[in-house]
């Protein structure tokens, strides 16, 4: 399946899942999408707070930080040095070991090509 078709199909099926549910807990109404079946991270479509339980793709994950729209969480355990897969391709290597539900970002994932920078780095320089 081509790249755009698989991403858009995933988003549509996740939206469909969200609409049908009638649950009591706030955690169940969240929305995380896996863009490709080989991915080991999910992308947040609706913000959740630290400790929230996420139900996605047959698993129940507890997030370890406030997760904003566009950010990633681990779908499964990822070991230090493992490749993180998003869109079906590697987007870098884990620098720490994480459990399912962990926020995956600059504090535990690094590029295999070029380092990223934030405004805090600039201050330190």
């Amino acid at each position: 399946m081509n790249f755009i078709a698989s991403v858009s199909a995933e988003l549509e099926s996740v939206q469909g899942m969200g609409k049908g549910q009638s649950t009591i807990e706030e955690e169940s109404k969240n929305c995380f999408v896996r863009l490709h079946r080989d991915d080991n991270v999910l992308v947040c479509c609706r913000a959740v707070n630290r400790g929230a339980r996420v139900n996605a793709y047959g698993r129940s994950l507890t997030v370890d930080a406030d997760i904003h729209v566009g950010h990633k969480i681990a779908f499964e355990e990822i070991l230090q040095g493992d490749k993180v897969k998003k869109y079906g391709v590697s987007i870098g290597s884990m620098t720490k070991h994480v459990k399912p539900g962990a926020h995956v970002h600059v504090h535990n994932l690094k590029s295999d090509y070029i380092p990223s920078h934030t405004r805090d780095d600039a201050v330190r320089d």
Binding site: V33, H105, L109, D112, Y113, I114, T118
Partner: protein, 398 residues
């Protein structure tokens, strides 16, 4: 669609008078001329080059920008002693059939007299281009570029795939589409090489990405901003995969550099990273530098996807803003032509938004203003670069 017919056979969607400063020293005079001219004379826009040292890239960019189909007439503003080859530039512009005048501040008698003289020239030029012939414009005449700016984790899953759909539609219908930022395609070389029209082109594309990686490593920074990380993007290659989805699924017909104008319809990749060792620093210091390069390749309008929320437009070619992030859209709705954030909140599919973008492209090409255009955003930057010409494998169709 209708457009303005130009002597080289191309058709423009706007009919702009450009006032062009050829060194920073002439900037104030040029700006004052534009400010005093713009209300009475139709669109009058300011572009320029700040440097006194000569540069082949800057000259080529000016050549292409000043003879762009959206441009009707030109006033060059020179201080008098700068390095820019104003006579050669005026000659190229005159040969394109456009009215052109050169104002040399040191010969005219300084600031006040130059501003008055410049206003007169703009009035005359604007009057003469009012008669520019209008013709039917087909999709085959249209070149559309795309850039992303202020990207975040939503860009690659909403706005960018939607632009990809729009690009697929346009290319299929005979238009020409250009995507760029080889520095933001680091990590995508394998998937892109598969789409190249020929194996030789695939090799050139891989070479361009490898060059980008070397260049950014030497700079010490990738094409990555703090806002990208705030919005969930972690690595260069993750950003690249998201950016890459703007290109759609069409086969890639060629690899071009700033100033190369595709002469056949199709999808093209624009390589913006300079050749050779870094000589002049960061390749595109902010988003408008890439936009100017796309325009120099003939783009009539630009599709600009944004997650964090860019507000820029551009001189010469209008910018259509496509917002990827639903929260950003809430905050900046007045600046966003298309809300692709609905793909994330569940209000629309990638296909739906792709169709909306096509509709907006046709409307803006037909004369409707984009929001940034209406608000007066006409940003422009041009700096120093160095390029080798593209080799024959880069344009296999030729």
């Amino acid at each position: 669609m209708k457009g303005y017919s130009r002597s080289d056979g191309r058709v423009g969607i706007r009919n702009v008078v450009l006032v062009v400063y050829l060194v920073e020293c002439a900037h104030h005079v040029a700006r004052a001329i534009v400010e005093k001219s713009v209300d009475e004379n139709g669109p009058v826009e300011l572009v320029g080059f700040p440097g006194c040292y000569p540069n082949d890239y800057a000259f080529l960019m000016m050549e292409r920008l000043l003879t762009h189909p959206n441009v009707g007439g030109i006033l060059l503003v020179s201080l008098g002693c700068e390095g820019f080859r104003r006579e050669a530039l005026e000659k190229v512009v005159a040969e394109s059939g456009r009215p052109v005048d050169t104002l040399v501040i040191q010969h005219t008698g300084g600031t006040k007299k130059s501003i008055v003289s410049g206003q007169e020239s703009v009035k005359t030029i604007a009057k003469s281009i009012k008669m520019a012939p209008i013709v039917e414009m087909r999709l085959e005449d249209l070149i559309v570029g795309t850039v992303c700016g202020g990207s975040d984790g939503t860009s690659g899953i909403s706005a960018n795939p939607a632009v990809g759909r729009c690009f697929d539609y346009l290319v299929n219908a005979g238009a020409t589409c250009i995507f760029e930022e080889t520095g933001e395609l680091i990590g995508c070389e394998d998937v892109m090489a598969d789409r190249a029209a020929t194996p030789e082109l695939a090799l050139e594309i891989r070479g361009a990405i490898a060059k980008a990686e070397r260049y950014y490593k030497a700079m010490g920074y990738g094409s990555f901003a703090p806002g990208n990380a705030d919005g969930g993007l972690t690595t260069q290659e993750e950003k690249s995969m998201g950016a890459y989805s703007k290109s759609g699924d069409s086969k890639i017909s060629g690899l071009i550099k700033p100033g190369d104008i595709p002469n056949q319809s199709g999808l093209y990749l624009l390589d913006v990273v300079p050749d050779g060792d870094p000589l002049f620093g960061f390749p595109n210091i902010s988003d408008n530098a890439e936009i100017a390069e796309m325009i120099a390749c003939g783009c009539h309008l630009i599709l600009f996807t944004t997650g964090r929320g860019s507000v820029v437009g551009s001189a010469i070619s209008p910018v259509i803003k496509i917002c990827a992030n639903p929260e950003t859209y809430e905050m900046l709705a007045d600046d966003m032509d298309i809300n692709a954030g609905r793909i994330i909140t569940g209000g629309a599919s990638v296909d739906d938004v792709g169709e909306e973008i096509v509709t907006e492209v046709l409307a803006v090409a037909g004369g409707a203003m984009s929001l940034s255009e209406e608000m007066g955003h006409r940003e422009f930057i041009l700096t120093y670069k160095r390029f080798e010409p593209i080799g024959p494998a880069c344009l296999p169709g030729r």
